[in-house]
C-alpha cells in the first residue's frame, strides 16, 4: 500500500513549530516596537491653529517659559496662555499679521483658541507640574529643547516606564532651580554626587508607588 504521506512530511512538525516560534517572536517584536509609545507618540506634531514658533520666542527672543506658562510653578497643570497673553505684545508687534488673525479674532469675540493637545496623559494618571519644577526637573527634560522647535512635537514617550526610569534613578534630570527653564543646560561632571547628596538628605524622594500618580 502506498504511503499516504511522503517521507519529507516527517520534517513538517519541527518546521511548523519553529515557524510558529518565529512568527510569535515577530508578532511580539511588532507589538513591542510599534505598539510602544516610543513609536506611536514620540514625534507627534499636529498642526496648530496659529503657527506659533517656540524657536522664535524661546530660542531667538529668549523669552522665559513662565512668561506664558504662568501656573507651572504652582499648579498641577501648566497652562496654555490665555489669548490676552499673546495680545500683550501683539497689539504692538505685527498687529496686522495674517498668521495672527485667529488670535485677534479670539480676543475680539471672546471665543477661546482651540490649540491641539500635544502632550497627553491618560485620565487615570495624575501628573503635577509644580512639584517637578520645585524639585529641579527642567522643562526640557520632558518637553525637549523647545528653543529649536518651529512646531511643538512630543519628544519623549510619556509612558509609565519612562516616568519610572527617572523616579528610580533621578540622577539625570535634577538641576539647580535657576536652570529650570534653560533649554541648553547640561549636567556637570559630578552630577551623580550632587544628586546622591540630595537623595540622602531627603530633599529628593520621588515616589514609586502606584498611588503617587493613580487615584
Amino acid at each position: 500500500m502506498a504511503q499516504i504521506f511522503p517521507r519529507w512530511t516527517n520534517n513538517l512538525p519541527p518546521i511548523v513549530a519553529g515557524g510558529a516560534g518565529v512568527v510569535a517572536a515577530l508578532a511580539a517584536f511588532f507589538f513591542w516596537y510599534y505598539g510602544s509609545p516610543k513609536y506611536t507618540d514620540v514625534g507627534y506634531r499636529p498642526k496648530q491653529p496659529v503657527p506659533y514658533s517656540h524657536r522664535l520666542h524661546v530660542g531667538d527672543l529668549g523669552m522665559d517659559c513662565r512668561y506664558c506658562h504662568t501656573s507651572v510653578e504652582y499648579s498641577s497643570v501648566s497652562i496654555i496662555p490665555p489669548t490676552q497673553t499673546c495680545m500683550n505684545c501683539h497689539t504692538l508687534i505685527l498687529p496686522q499679521s495674517e498668521k495672527l488673525l485667529p488670535i485677534r479674532e479670539s480676543y475680539a469675540t471672546g471665543k477661546p483658541m482651540q490649540w491641539v493637545k500635544v502632550h497627553k496623559l491618560p485620565d487615570y494618571a495624575y501628573f503635577n507640574h509644580s512639584i517637578h519644577i520645585a524639585k529641579g526637573v527642567g522643562c526640557a527634560t520632558c518637553h525637549g529643547d523647545l528653543s529649536q522647535m518651529e512646531v511643538v512635537e512630543q519628544k519623549q514617550p510619556l509612558s509609565m516606564g519612562w516616568c519610572l526610569d527617572c523616579h528610580r534613578s533621578p540622577e539625570i534630570p535634577i538641576r539647580p532651580a535657576e536652570e529650570i527653564t534653560n533649554m541648553k543646560w547640561t549636567p556637570p561632571a559630578n552630577q551623580r554626587e550632587i544628586v546622591a547628596k540630595l537623595r540622602a538628605s531627603g530633599a529628593i524622594a520621588p515616589p514609586e508607588d502606584c498611588s503617587a500618580c493613580h487615584r
Binding site: P46, I79, I80, T83, Y107, G110, D209, H214
Partner: protein
C-alpha cells in the same frame, strides 16, 4: 436559631442586623453565603434582552477585533485656554468660597470648593455656629441638586416657553391694579426663611399691599417649637443648645442628632460630652422618649418607646415629678388622668432626681412634632433647672418667617371661595405636600393667576399659570441668620445654569415692579441696617468668612410666664386616645433622605440607606414586631391604610423597638413629578395627612391586601457571620475593666506566613473611628460619594447587593426584639498591612504603597472580583455596569477632577482619600516641610458632625490618630485574622443609670 455562632459580648448580648438574621431564614442564609446574589454576574438587566453571557462574549470578540484596527490613530484633542484669564483662578488649583445653605428657620454655613469656577464639593464652615466645619448628608448632597439635569430650565406660561422679561412686563401690567386696590385678592405663599433681606421684602410687601395675604408654610416647619417658646417667654425666639455642657440630656421625640434642625452642632455637642479618653473621664447620659427608632434613640443610654401622642403626657408627668421634688414649674394638674401606668413610675422619678442633681448641667429637648404647650412646658422645666444660659439659650429671631398652619388653612379657604385672584408660590411644592383634607390642588385651580417659583417642573408647576425656575443657593445672592441669629451672606459660586431667579429677586419684583439683582437687594438690606459703618470692608469680610462675627441676636431672658404655660397646657388637648390594633397611631416623620420631598430627585440621598431601617429608595409603614404579629403582617406586605376617611396602600417594614400600635410613615416620597430619579419612588403619605393633626393622630386602621412589595434594604449586606465586630460595655463595666474591648477576643500569637514589611519610615496613614460618637447619620457616606465620584446604581441594583458606597454604615440591633438597642458602625476599607485582597489579585491591581495604603489601581484591574471574595470586611465594590458612561453633562460637572471616574468591570473601594494625601504631600514638599497633623483630612472625617473619625500619621506619636489609638477602648476588627488593619475602632460605652437597672423601659 443558633446555627451561626453569634458574638457573645460581655453581657452575653447578641447582635443582629435584621429579624431575618435573628430567625435565620433561608433567604438570609443565602444572602450571607453568596458573595453576590443569585444572578449577579449575569447580563439580565436589560429588558427584553435574552443575551446570555456566552453570546455576549462571542459578539464582543468580533467587535473587539474590528475596534482594534480602528483605534491606531490617536484622536485629536484640544486645549481651550481662557481668552482673558480671571484674576483669582489658576487652573488646577481649587478655590474655596464661604457661603451658606438655608434650610427652614436656620442656615448651614458652608465652604464650597470650586474648580475653574465649577463648584464640586461642599464642606462645613469652621467659623459658622451651625456647622463648625462639619456637615450632614443634606449639605453634602446639595451639590448634586445644583447639577440635577431635571431642573427646570426656563420660564413657562402654561405649556409655552417664556422669558423673565415676559414675567416682568406681565407683572408691571398687573401691578397698578393691585396697588390701586391695596392688594386685595393678592397672596404670597412662601417657604420658611430666616433672612433679613427676605424679612425686609415681606415688610415692604405688607405695607405696599395692606389687604394682601402673606403666608409661610412648609410641610414640616418649626412652628410649634417657636410658638412654645413664645408662650413661655413672650418672645419670638429659637432654642440654641450647648450640649457639650450638659451631663444629662432628655429628648422628648427630638431626633436632635439627625432629623431636627441644627443637627450638626447638636450632634457635635452631644459627642463632646462622651469622648472618654480614659475610664477616668465622665460622660453624659441621654434619655430618649420616642415612638419610632431614630438615630438619637440609637445613641440613647435609656430609651422609652412611647407613642408620640402620649409623649406630651410624659412631659407633664416629668414636670409633676420635678414639682413634687420642690421645683417651681407651672402646674398642669388637670392632666393627671392620663394613663401612663405601663411606664414604671420609678423611671420618671429617677429621671427627675437626676435632672435635679444636675441643675444647670442638664437639658430637656422637645421635637418639632410635639404641641406648642409641651414646648412651653419644656421651656419652663429648663428654666427651673437653671439650664437657660448654660445648656440652652433662646435667641430672639427678628427675621424669622415660620410656618403658620392656621394661616395656611385660611388661605386655602380663601382660594376656594374665589377671593384670591393672584397667588405667588415662592418655592415649595404645596400641590404635592399640602395635607389631603385641605384640598389645596383644587383650591389652587380656582385662583385665576398662579405664579410658581420652583427648582423643578413639579406637581405645583404643572398646574400653575406661570412657572419660574428657582436658583440654587450656589447660584444666587441672599442672606440668612442661623438659629442663634448669626448673620451670613449667601454668595453664588456660579452664574445660574438656567434662566432661574431667586426668591428675593421675585419678591422684590412683586413688591415694586423693579427687576433688581439679588446682589443689590442684599446689599441694600445690609447697608441700611446691619453694617452701616464701614460697609465695604465689613461686607468683604463677611463674604470671606461666611459669617458676620459677633452678630448673634440677644438671648431672651429666662423669665417664664407660668400662668401662660399653665393656661396653654390646660387648653391643650393632650389626652390620648386608647390605641389598639384596630385604631392605631399614625405618625408622620420627615425623611432622612428627601426631607419633605424637596430632595426626591437627588440620587445620592435616595440611595443612602436610612440609619435605622436601612431601606433605600423607599418609605414604608414602620411598625413594631408586636404590632405586626397581632396583625399577622410581615415586612413587605402591602396593607390598606385607612385614616380619617381616606385610605392608601402602604408596604410594611418591621423595626424592632418601635412603639406598639404606632405606625410611622415618612413624608417626601411618592412624588408624581419629581424628575427622572425621584418620580414614583415610594408612597405619598400626604394623602393621609390632615391639617387637624399634621404629625400624629389615632384612628389608623391597617388591613392586609395580600399583595407584597419588594424593598431594597442593605441591612444584611456585608454581614460578617456574627463575629465580634462591634464591641460595647456600660460605663460601669468600662470603669471596672478598662481594657474590655481589645481583650474581648482571645487568639494565639499571630504569626505571618511571610516576612512582613516594616512600615517604619515616612508617613504611615491610619484611622480611628469612635463608636461612642458615631450616630449613624450618613454624612460620611455621602461626603465620600461626593469626593470620590461614586455612582448611584438604582433600587434594583441595590437589591442585588451592588451599591457602590465606599463607606457602609452597619446597623446592629442587640437585646430583645421588644427593647433592643441599636449600634452603628461605619465600615470602609481597613487598609490592612497584610491585606487578604492583595494576596489573591492575579494582576497586582491592588497593592500596598510605602505609606501603608492599600491602593487600588483601576487601570490594571481586570474585574475577577477575587479581592472582594477574600476581603473579610466586605468593603470592596464592583462596577457591574458602566454607571458613569451616560452621565448628563451637568452631572459630569459635579465630578471631582482629582479622582478617576471608574468604568465598568473595575473594583473600587476606600482610598483614605489618596488624592488629598497626594495634595498634602506635594504642598509640604514644595515648602520643604513635613505634612502637619490634621493637614490631610479624609472626606468622611471632614464631614463627620460628631468628630468620630480621626485620620493621620500613626508613626507620629503626637498626632491625633496616634493619641486615639492609645485610648484603651481601641480595638481592631477581626484581629485574629492577622490582617493588621490601619483602621481601628474605639468601643462603644453606654451610660445607663445604675438606679434604673432592671427597670423595663416600657412598651408604651
Amino acid at each position: 436559631m443558633s446555627s451561626v455562632n453569634r458574638p457573645d459580648g460581655r453581657n452575653g448580648r447578641e447582635y443582629w442586623r435584621s429579624l431575618d438574621q435573628l430567625s435565620q431564614t433561608g433567604e438570609f442564609k443565602e444572602f450571607l453565603n453568596r458573595e453576590f446574589p443569585q444572578g449577579a454576574s449575569e447580563l439580565e438587566q436589560v429588558e427584553n434582552n435574552d443575551w446570555s453571557r456566552r453570546n455576549f462574549i462571542t459578539l464582543m470578540g468580533a467587535s473587539l477585533a474590528l475596534a482594534g484596527l480602528a483605534s491606531c490613530r490617536r484622536p485629536e484633542t484640544h486645549v481651550l485656554p481662557y481668552v482673558k484669564a480671571p484674576e483669582e483662578i489658576i487652573p488646577g488649583i481649587a478655590i474655596q468660597y464661604a457661603t451658606a445653605m438655608p434650610l427652614g428657620t436656620g442656615v448651614y454655613g458652608v465652604v464650597v470648593e470650586a474648580h475653574e469656577g465649577r463648584p464640586t464639593k461642599i464642606e462645613g464652615n469652621e467659623l459658622h455656629p451651625s456647622t463648625k466645619g462639619a456637615s450632614n448628608a443634606w449639605i453634602q448632597a446639595s451639590i448634586l441638586n445644583l447639577y440635577d439635569p431635571d431642573r427646570s430650565r426656563r420660564v413657562m406660561q402654561g405649556a409655552s416657553e417664556k422669558t423673565w422679561s415676559d414675567v416682568t412686563s406681565f407683572w408691571r401690567g398687573e401691578l397698578t391694579k393691585h396697588q390701586a386696590n391695596k392688594g386685595a385678592g393678592l397672596a404670597v405663599l412662601s417657604e420658611q426663611h430666616n433672612s433679613p433681606t427676605f424679612a425686609r421684602l415681606v415688610r415692604q410687601f405688607k405695607s405696599a399691599f395692606p389687604m394682601a395675604t402673606f403666608v409661610t408654610w412648609e410641610p414640616a416647619g418649626d412652628e410649634l417649637k417657636i410658638e412654645g417658646i413664645r408662650i413661655a417667654t413672650g418672645s419670638v425666639a429659637q432654642p440654641v443648645y450647648d450640649l457639650a455642657k450638659a451631663s444629662v440630656i432628655v429628648s422628648l421625640d427630638c431626633d436632635f442628632v439627625f432629623g431636627e434642625s441644627e443637627s450638626v452642632v447638636n450632634a457635635r455637642g452631644f459627642a463632646d460630652g462622651r469622648r472618654l479618653k480614659s475610664e477616668k473621664e465622665s460622660m453624659n447620659r441621654l434619655y430618649v422618649v420616642e415612638s419610632a427608632f431614630t438615630s438619637t434613640g440609637a445613641t440613647a443610654d435609656h430609651r422609652i418607646c412611647l407613642q408620640v401622642q402620649r409623649i406630651g403626657a410624659f412631659a407633664i408627668r416629668l414636670a409633676q415629678a420635678l414639682r413634687a421634688k420642690g421645683l417651681a414649674i407651672p402646674s398642669a394638674d388637670g392632666l393627671s388622668s392620663i394613663d401612663l401606668s405601663d411606664i414604671d413610675s420609678k423611671w420618671v422619678s429617677e429621671l427627675a432626681s437626676e435632672l435635679l442633681s444636675s441643675r444647670g448641667r442638664s437639658v430637656v429637648m422637645a421635637g418639632r412634632r410635639l404641641p406648642a404647650p409641651v414646648h412651653a412646658l419644656v421651656c419652663a422645666i429648663n428654666s427651673a433647672l437653671d439650664n437657660v444660659g448654660s445648656t440652652v439659650a433662646w435667641h430672639s429671631a427678628p427675621d424669622v418667617n415660620v410656618t403658620n398652619a392656621n394661616e395656611f388653612a385660611t388661605l386655602v379657604n380663601a382660594m376656594k371661595s374665589g377671593s384670591i385672584s393672584t397667588l405667588f408660590v415662592l418655592g415649595g411644592n404645596p400641590v404635592y405636600s399640602a395635607p389631603a383634607d385641605l384640598g389645596f390642588a383644587d383650591a389652587y385651580k380656582k385662583v385665576a393667576t398662579t405664579i410658581h417659583l420652583g427648582t423643578h417642573v413639579d406637581e405645583t408647576a404643572e398646574v400653575s399659570t406661570w412657572h419660574i425656575p428657582q436658583s440654587h443657593f450656589l447660584e444666587a445672592w441672599g442672606d440668612a441668620r442661623s438659629v442663634d441669629g448669626t448673620l451670613s451672606a449667601i454668595q453664588p459660586l456660579i452664574e445660574p445654569l438656567y434662566h432661574s431667579k431667586s426668591d428675593i429677586e421675585l419678591l422684590a419684583l412683586v413688591v415694586s415692579g423693579v427687576d433688581a439683582r439679588g446682589y443689590d437687594i442684599v446689599r441694600e438690606t445690609w447697608g441700611a441696617s446691619i453694617t452701616a459703618l464701614d460697609f465695604e470692608s465689613k461686607w468683604r469680610r463677611a463674604l470671606h468668612d461666611g459669617v458676620v462675627a459677633d452678630n448673634r441676636t440677644a438671648a431672651v431672658p429666662a423669665l417664664i410666664d407660668s400662668g401662660a404655660v399653665a393656661n396653654a397646657l390646660r387648653s391643650a388637648d393632650l389626652s390620648s386616645d386608647k390605641l389598639s390594633s384596630s385604631s392605631m397611631e399614625i405618625v408622620f416623620a420627615v425623611s432622612g433622605a428627601t426631607f419633605d420631598g424637596r430632595w426626591a430627585n437627588n440620587g445620592w440621598l435616595q440611595e443612602v440607606p436610612d440609619p435605622i431601617t436601612k431601606l433605600t429608595w423607599d418609605n414604608a409603614a414602620i411598625m413594631s414586631v408586636g404590632t405586626a404579629e397581632v396583625l399577622g403582617l410581615a415586612s413587605g406586605d402591602i396593607v390598606k391604610a385607612g385614616y380619617s376617611g381616606r385610605s392608601m396602600d402602604l408596604p410594611v417594614w418591621i423595626v424592632p423597638g418601635n412603639a406598639d400600635n404606632s405606625v410611622t410613615v415618612a413624608l417626601g416620597y411618592g412624588r408624581r413629578s419629581a424628575g427622572s430619579v425621584g418620580t414614583d419612588i415610594g408612597f405619598d403619605v400626604n394623602a393621609l395627612r390632615t391639617s387637624k393633626a399634621p404629625y400624629f393622630d389615632a384612628g389608623l386602621t391597617l388591613s392586609k391586601t395580600g399583595r407584597t412589595y419588594v424593598f431594597s434594604t442593605t441591612q444584611d449586606h456585608g454581614s460578617m457571620e456574627g463575629r465580634p465586630i462591634i464591641r460595647e460595655a456600660t460605663y460601669e463595666e468600662y470603669k471596672r475593666d478598662p481594657n474590655f474591648a481589645p481583650e474581648m477576643v482571645e487568639h494565639p500569637p499571630l504569626e505571618s506566613m511571610w516576612n512582613e514589611h516594616k512600615y517604619d519610615t515616612g508617613y504611615q496613614w491610619g484611622m480611628v473611628i469612635d463608636l461612642n460618637s458615631c450616630v449613624g447619620c450618613n454624612a460620611c457616606t455621602v461626603a465620600c460619594q461626593s469626593e470620590n465620584n461614586i455612582p448611584i446604581v438604582g433600587k434594583e441594583q441595590v437589591r442585588k447587593g451592588r451599591e457602590m458606597h465606599w463607606i457602609r454604615l452597619d446597623r446592629y440591633f442587640a437585646g430583645s426584639t421588644d427593647e433592643p438597642t441599636v449600634l452603628h458602625q461605619p465600615m470602609a476599607c481597613h487598609h490592612c498591612e497584610l491585606a487578604p485582597c492583595e494576596q489573591v489579585c492575579p494582576v497586582a491591581a491592588t497593592v500596598h504603597d510605602h505609606e501603608g495604603l492599600n491602593v487600588m489601581v483601576y487601570n490594571r484591574c481586570i474585574g475577577t472580583r477575587y479581592c472582594s471574595n477574600n476581603c473579610p470586611y466586605k468593603v470592596r465594590r464592583f462596577n457591574f455596569w458602566n454607571y458613569t458612561k451616560d452621565y448628563p453633562e451637568t452631572i459630569k460637572m459635579a465630578q471631582n477632577p482629582d479622582v478617576t471616574v471608574r468604568s465598568r468591570g473595575v473594583m473600587e473601594k476606600c482610598t483614605y482619600c489618596v488624592q488629598r494625601i497626594s495634595e498634602g504631600r506635594i504642598t509640604a514638599k514644595k515648602e520643604n516641610r513635613e505634612i502637619r497633623d490634621g493637614e490631610v483630612r479624609s472626606a468622611c472625617q471632614q464631614a463627620c458632625p460628631t468628630g468620630a473619625i480621626t485620620f493621620g500619621n500613626i508613626l507620629d506619636p503626637n498626632s491625633a490618630v496616634s493619641q486615639a489609638k492609645k485610648i484603651n477602648r481601641n480595638y481592631v476588627v477581626l484581629e485574629e485574622l492577622n490582617t493588621k488593619p490601619r483602621t481601628s475602632y474605639l468601643a462603644r460605652v453606654r451610660n445607663p443609670n445604675p438606679a434604673l437597672e432592671g427597670v423595663s423601659c416600657g412598651r408604651g
